[in-house]
């Protein structure tokens, strides 16, 4: 399998001097789902911003064989789409169809091509019939799905999803997981940033763990990573808190989403 994304020695500092990324290196294979997990503020979203060329760090990024630079930026952005954490940042047009067709129209497609691609993307996220709905009147879950459609309509080969399940209710999360499975079955390369361990074990082929030092500390299959309890604990991905066993309240480390016995 060819490395569709190659990152080596990527570092980034914000203008105020805060370290955003510290010597990040890893590869992503074509068609795989790589889930990037890490605590808040570990640089996961900053990594995506660098991959999309919004932030300009030091080091090398190669996407589909093209080095990320100003010359290749347009071509790379046509092939790699990013879904933002907050769907209100992604949906800026009055209607859903306007939003979903924004990308295709800007790629120079004609109206009928743009409408066909938009309807296909909306069908993929289970939002047929939403075309003329006002974007700002949608529920949060619907906005999240519409935000994915805005990128899918451009037929990207790589999809970056920043915290896709944050703020969603359980039903919306399961709808979202179904969408991700559909994309996986279509051999879409997916990079997902999350700290949702449940989503990670559901969808990941490989998992990359970001430490609080803003650099990756481990990469491996989801089983290897999620079963490495010490690694998860050290990187603030599981925590210790009190919990209840019927009438008994006591304190010990445990992972959310897992049952355990005493």
């Amino acid at each position: 399998m060819a490395g569709i994304i190659k990152i080596s020695n990527l570092s980034y500092r914000y203008p105020d001097g805060t370290l955003g990324l510290n010597n990040v290196s890893f590869d992503v294979e074509e068609g795989e789902t790589l889930v990037i997990i890490g605590a808040n503020g570990t640089g996961k979203s900053t990594l995506f911003m660098n991959l999309m060329g919004i932030l300009d760090g030091t080091g090398n990024i190669e996407i589909m064989g093209l080095p990320l630079n100003k010359i290749n930026l347009k071509e790379i952005r046509q092939k790699m789409g990013m879904v933002f954490q907050n769907p209100d940042d992604q949906l800026f047009c009055p209607t859903v169809l306007d939003d979903v067709s924004f990308g295709p129209l800007n790629l120079g497609w004609d109206s009928s091509q743009a409408i066909t691609a938009s309807q296909k993307a909306l069908a993929l996220v289970d939002m047929e019939g939403y075309e003329l709905r006002m974007s700002h009147h949608l529920s949060f879950g619907e906005k999240k799905r519409a935000a994915i459609a805005t990128v899918l309509s451009m037929n990207p080969r790589i999809l970056l999803l920043d915290e896709p399940t944050s703020g969603l209710d359980p039903r919306s999360v399961s709808k979202f997981i179904n969408i991700l499975y559909t994309l996986k079955s279509q051999r879409q390369t997916l990079l997902i940033v999350t700290h949702d361990i449940f989503l990670t074990q559901e969808i990941a082929d490989r998992v990359l763990v970001f430490s609080e030092e803003k650099s990756p500390v481990a990469i491996g299959s989801y089983k290897e990573i999620l079963n490495n309890y010490d690694l998860l604990l050290k990187n603030n991905l599981v925590h210790q808190h009190r919990h209840r066993h019927e009438e008994v309240v006591h304190e010990h480390e445990h992972r959310h989403g897992y049952t355990h016995e005493h």
Binding site: M49, M52, I54, K74, R77, Q78, G81, M82, F84, N86, D88, D89, Q90, F92, C93, P94, T95, L97, D98, S101, F102, G103, L105, N106, L107, S111, A114, I115, S135, H136, T150, V151, M154
Partner: protein, 265 residues
């Protein structure tokens, strides 16, 4: 594109923008003393509301929301404007003089605003905002202005929501007193809202450029002027020209056998 049986809805947005702009321009520039002209403008607006098939109840409902704002601004004019005193009101030790000039100015504001608001209600009921923006774009209004209007329309609710959350957060921790301190807090809140809006604008811009935005507004709809649009513009501009040029006035004064024509009819 869905066809509409409502004439005003089916017109090209350019036609409506040009026609409404022409009507408002004439209304604003006509001196208030030409009351007959205003009656004719009112007839034109009435005809448009008939064509738009909006019920009078719907129109009145919307007009009644906007008129009080105008009334609030205009109601003080008869007392403030200097001129020939018409009557005086005595409230306690205060004496308020109402002037003829003030009354005319009040009428000027009220009549012109009411006509403009009526037209605005008809326009907003028969043209969607995206179509209106596309119409402006096709009329070569600067893109920057159109983008600003578009974002204002899209994000006003988001910003209002953000402001509401800030106010809620403040009121949950405010227990009265220290009024002067509250102005400082209000200043902080405005500042925070500004920063959040600025940051959001940056994120939206990123989302736009990631989807290939290069500064040009593209739309799925293709607008085309039809014979209905041409007839509508000619009809509206012709009617306005008759009023403004005084033709109506002249027709009214045509005499046949020493009797005014319209009286004979």
């Amino acid at each position: 594109m869905k066809s509409s049986d409502n004439l005003l809805e089916s017109l090209d947005p350019r036609t409506k923008i040009v026609s409404y702009f022409a009507i408002i321009l004439c209304v604003v520039l006509t001196p208030i003393t030409h009351l007959r002209d205003f009656a004719l403008y009112f007839l034109l607006v009435l005809a448009m509301s008939f064509l738009s098939r909006i019920t009078p109840k719907q129109i009145l409902k919307k007009v009644c929301i906007l008129i009080p704002f105008v009334l609030f601004v205009a109601m003080f004019v008869p007392f403030v404007k200097e001129g020939h005193i018409c009557c005086a009101l005595k409230i306690g030790i205060f004496r308020l003089n109402v002037t003829y000039e003030g009354i005319w100015t009040f009428l000027n504001i009220m009549v012109k605003s009411s006509l403009s608001i009526l037209l605005l209600v008809i326009a907003s009921s028969t043209t969607t905002f995206p179509d209106f923006l596309k119409g402006l774009d096709l009329l070569h209004i600067p893109r920057l202005i159109i983008m600003l209007m578009s974002f204002m329309y899209r994000y006003i609710f988001v910003i209002l929501d953000e402001a509401r959350r800030l106010i809620r957060a403040r009121s949950l921790r405010y227990f009265g007193s220290r009024y002067r301190e509250q102005f400082r807090v209000l200043g902080y809140m405005i500042g925070v809202l500004f920063i959040r809006t600025f940051e959001r604008a940056e994120r939206i811009y990123h989302a736009m450029i990631l989807r290939g935005f290069g500064g040009e507004i593209r739309s799925l709809k293709r607008f085309k002027l039809s014979y209905k649009d041409i007839l509508f513009i000619i009809g509206t501009i012709g009617y306005l020209a008759c009023i403004v040029s005084g033709l109506v006035h002249k027709i009214e004064h045509i005499k046949v056998n020493n009797t005014r024509l319209w009286q004979g009819l």
